[in-house]
């Protein structure tokens, strides 16, 4: 019996991790990420509803600006690079944590958070410019759906930043205990999922929106 299995509260014994659960309850190292994956999937459903809304309303500009007049590919390219690289550094942070390397784990988490902040700043800058031009979310149904879809992703990134900060403090205070490691794993799943959603936003909103 592994140490991990012994600390599981619901069960005694723990299984040999077939993943299917028919040999008895799975250990927490399987159960916790599995539950978190399910949550991430439900989050994906949430975004899919927002994408559907955007697709329905993208042409409802009410005489206001259209996608081609608003979006700037270059700015979005920088944004995208920042977020994709942050996913990479997030992976590095997990590797460092697996090796119980406090300094590098903290450093890579910090870099991840900073890149996320860069992404968020560019997004807010873009929003500010658009609102300044009179292309705020109240202007048309299209802009309402644009600000909501992209803004909801931004809100997720903000929540991710808050989580990264909390985890840095926790790792610092508690070290690499099994439950802290599980949380780090969930955090990285969350962060990568935001990347996936961003790739979809980048394609459906910005690339298609700036087609001539």
């Amino acid at each position: 019996m592994t140490n991990e299995a012994a600390t599981i509260g619901l069960t005694h014994g723990g299984s040999e991790d077939t993943g299917l659960g028919h040999r008895g309850p799975e250990s927490k190292s399987i159960v916790v990420p599995y539950g978190f994956w399910l949550f991430v999937l439900s989050d994906m459903v949430l975004f899919s509803a927002l994408f559907a809304t955007y697709a329905t309303l993208v042409l409802a500009t009410d005489g206001g600006p259209t996608t081609n007049q608003l979006f700037d590919r270059n700015l979005v390219a920088i944004e995208t690079i920042a977020l994709l690289v942050s996913s990479f550094t997030c992976g590095l942070a997990i590797i460092a944590a697996r090796r119980s390397n406090m300094v590098w784990a903290q450093a890579w988490l910090l870099v991840t958070g900073l890149l996320g902040a860069v992404f968020l700043s560019i997004e807010l800058y873009e929003f500010a410019i658009m609102i300044g031009e009179g292309a705020g979310p109240q202007r048309s149904a299209f802009l309402s759906s644009f600000f909501t879809l992209v803004g909801c992703h931004g809100a997720h990134v903000t929540a991710g930043l808050l989580w990264i900060g909390t985890m840095m403090a926790q790792v610092w205070a508690k070290g690499f205990q099994p439950h802290i490691m599980r949380r780090l794993l969930c955090l990285s799943v969350f962060w990568h999922a935001l990347d996936i959603i961003w790739v979809a936003i980048f394609t459906i909103v910005y690339l298609i929106g700036t087609l001539p």
């Binding site: 509260g9 659960g21 309850p25 599995y34 539950g35 439900s42 809304t53 149904a141 309402s144 909501t148």
Partner: protein, 668 residues
């Protein structure tokens, strides 16, 4: 400072809500003082409010659901009374703006705060026991889910006393629900309360899908799970896929109302049809979220009270999963008349009819389970038979509504109202009453009075048919739903019969309370000593009633379907229990006030958002986040139940079971 909140929000000039809320507030205060005088607060706090025990949380859900049932039923009887009074020259006793709030509150409360908590309550109580394990995957999150649901229910009820409720119907269709046409806080109460409880529901789904797929007793492979676990799995998968869409839909409407966005407005390019599509992409799966666990309850009841394994277990599982998938392909049948065109309507009409096939499979399975069985006509069996009679008619009127040309005739009429009450009362409510009777002894250690239980059943059964059959007739005559005044006097007799039906259901609800009190008083005559009062077949009957916190001293080994039945038959044949296992100390999650404190801050935040008190909203959010971080910082995750205690309890159970076995062997 206080946003839109002022003394005008209290209904001083409106006697009905004022009087009701004062009575409710006084009753709650009296109850709190009584509990305090009895010295029960510490018990309640430790055993229920902060409990991470799935059984306790399940019971709290069911108590919440039953309390809200009384609230929702009061709304119902007020509506029936108004409709049977306000005919011809009479205007009845409810002005339109109040009547509109009542039917909106009735629908919202009955679906979100009666049916959902009751169904989730049964899943909580039963699923881990049937799977032969000690708790759900995330016990603390389970507690948080419950308190978020309770927080939503609280906000809905606060609207009775502070401000108003929505006048828009239970799904708050725009543009009526937009700020321009509903400037009051009613729709905001609706939106915020549902958002908060919706988060709780999604967390519940995460919890139960993980539990059912990952945490089962050794040997409990998928095709050995009791059908209730299968239907719970399907229902939670539906929640996981459907509730985020509800969150989005309500969120977009909030953005329209709070920040002047243009999703569903008439101007700015908004599209209110988008709302209809989104809300029903959630709304149609929602009815299956409710009915699938109900089907599971009926399956357990059918097998147990027929003394036979469930007929067609595999077809039952496949029918469940088929319904789970098809339920996402039918949402458009809720608005055939809104101009999608004949082709689209045909596709969705056919898909809606196809759902009747797996449902029919299930009905035949229950019938064949009873066929050739030794059927015991106790209370849950009454509900099963009553359900089959009622639900088949309700299903057929549903198939009728699924035919677009017919739907054009009866759309939004009382025919529709009769149809969905027939499937929800005949399907979900009957199942809840059956499950309540069936699992009550497991929860509290004594059975409910059988005679009063049958009286309750007949009240529901007769009352339901009297209340809703007239509505089919009126629907065919063109009677639209939600009428505050009826101009055609020839409808009067039908409406009076409907009122009589509602009153009979009311008698049934009163008798339920009487049954509970009477059963508590006479509990010593009805003790469930063995833990298996109904000659059950699934693992929850293996342990004592009520089960210890950890459910099972040793996780049961499952060999084959009907895990407990096989084991019991072997024991009876050999007049011996299985060899005494080697007991180990058991680690259980510690109780925590995280859920209730978190929900306190969430309620504050919700209330503040409704009334535009922004500083309080931010304070509430910070508070909720701080509680979660505080919880995450804990060091003690589990507490250990010493092996001595486990052994003592287990030996006591074995002694009782041995006695019972000897009695059985002497009687045969």
């Amino acid at each position: 400072m206080f946003g839109k909140l002022s003394w005008d929000a209290i209904p001083f000039h409106d006697p009905i809500p004022l009087f009701t809320s004062l009575v409710v507030i006084l009753a709650l205060a009296a109850l709190a003082i009584w509990v305090w005088r009895k010295g029960w607060w510490p018990y309640l706090w430790h055993q229920y409010i902060t409990s991470t025990d799935h059984k306790k949380i399940g019971i709290m859900y069911i108590v919440l659901g039953l309390l809200m049932l009384v609230r929702g039923f009061s709304d119902a009887i007020m509506m029936r009374l108004q409709q049977s009074m306000a005919i011809g020259a009479s205007q009845g006793y409810l002005p339109p703006e109040h009547y509109n709030q009542i039917f909106s509150a009735h629908g919202t409360i009955m679906i979100f705060f009666v049916a959902m908590p009751l169904v989730i309550g049964f899943m909580n109580f039963v699923v881990p026991l049937q799977l032969g394990v000690r708790d759900v995957a995330f016990p603390t999150m389970n507690n948080v889910s419950f308190w978020l649901t309770a927080s939503g229910a609280l906000l809905i009820n606060v609207s009775l006393f502070v401000g108003e409720f929505a006048r828009t119907g239970w799904l708050a269709y725009p543009p009526l629900s937009e700020l321009r046409f509903s400037p009051g806080v009613g729709v905001d109460y609706y939106l915020v309360a549902l958002q908060i409880s919706g988060v709780g529901t999604i967390l519940t789904a995460v919890n139960f899908v993980t539990t059912i797929l990952k945490i089962r007793a050794p040997g409990m492979s998928y095709m050995r799970m009791p059908v209730f676990c299968w239907t719970s799995l399907a229902s939670n998968l539906l929640i996981l896929a459907a509730f985020p869409v509800l969150t989005v839909t309500l969120g977009l409407l909030m953005l329209d109302r709070y920040l002047g966005f243009h999703f569903f407005t008439n101007d700015g390019g908004g599209n209110s049809m988008l709302y209809m599509n989104l809300i029903w992409v959630w709304g149609h799966p929602e009815v299956y979220i409710l009915i699938l666990p109900a089907f599971g309850i009926y399956s357990e009841v059918a097998a147990t009270f027929s003394g036979k394994p469930l007929f067609g277990y595999r077809s039952m599982v496949f029918a469940t999963l088929a319904i789970c998938i098809i339920s996402f392909c039918v949402w458009l049948h809720h608005f055939f008349t809104m101009g999608a065109g004949a082709d689209v309507n045909a596709v969705f009409g056919i898909a809606s009819m196809i759902i009747a096939i797996p449902t029919g499979v299930k009905i035949f399975n229950w019938l064949f389970t009873m066929y050739g069985g030794r059927v015991r006509f106790s209370v849950p069996m009454h509900y099963l038979i009553g359900f089959m009679l009622t639900f088949v008619i309700g299903g057929l009127t549903g198939v009728l509504l699924a035919i677009p040309p017919v739907d054009f005739v009866v759309h939004n009429t009382l025919f529709l109202i009769a149809h969905f009450h027939q499937v929800i009362i005949g399907g979900v409510v009957f199942a809840i009453m059956a499950g309540y009777t069936y699992w009550f002894p497991k929860a509290f250690g004594f059975t409910l009075d059988e005679r009063l239980g049958k009286a309750v059943f007949w009240c529901w059964f007769i009352g339901f048919h009297l209340a809703f059959m007239p509505l089919y007739v009126l629907g065919f005559w063109g009677g639209t739903r939600r009428l505050q005044h009826i101009s055609d006097p020839s409808w009067a007799p039908w409406l009076h019969v409907a009122l009589l039906g509602a009153v009979i259901i009311g008698v049934g609800i009163v008798l339920t309370v009487v049954q509970l009190l009477y059963s508590i008083r006479t509990r010593d005559q009805r003790r469930d000593v063995t833990g298996d009062p109904w000659d059950g077949r699934t693992l929850e009957w293996l342990t004592l009633s009520p089960p210890p916190h950890y459910n099972f001293a040793v996780l049961p080994d499952v060999h084959g379907e009907e895990a407990y039945w096989t084991r019991k038959q072997t024991a009876i044949k050999q007049v011996a229990l299985i060899e005494e296992p080697d007991y180990q100390p058991i680690e259980m999650p510690v109780d925590t006030p995280t859920g209730v404190i978190c929900a306190f801050f969430t309620s504050l935040c919700g209330f503040a958002v409704i009334w535009h008190i922004w500083w309080l909203a931010i304070l509430g959010l910070i508070g909720a986040f701080a509680v979660l971080v505080w919880y995450a910082w804990r060091d003690e995750h589990e507490h250990l139940i010493p092996v001595g205690e486990v052994r003592k309890n287990a030996r006591e159970r074995r002694r009782i079971r041995m006695e019972h076995l000897h009695e059985l062997s002497q009687s045969t």
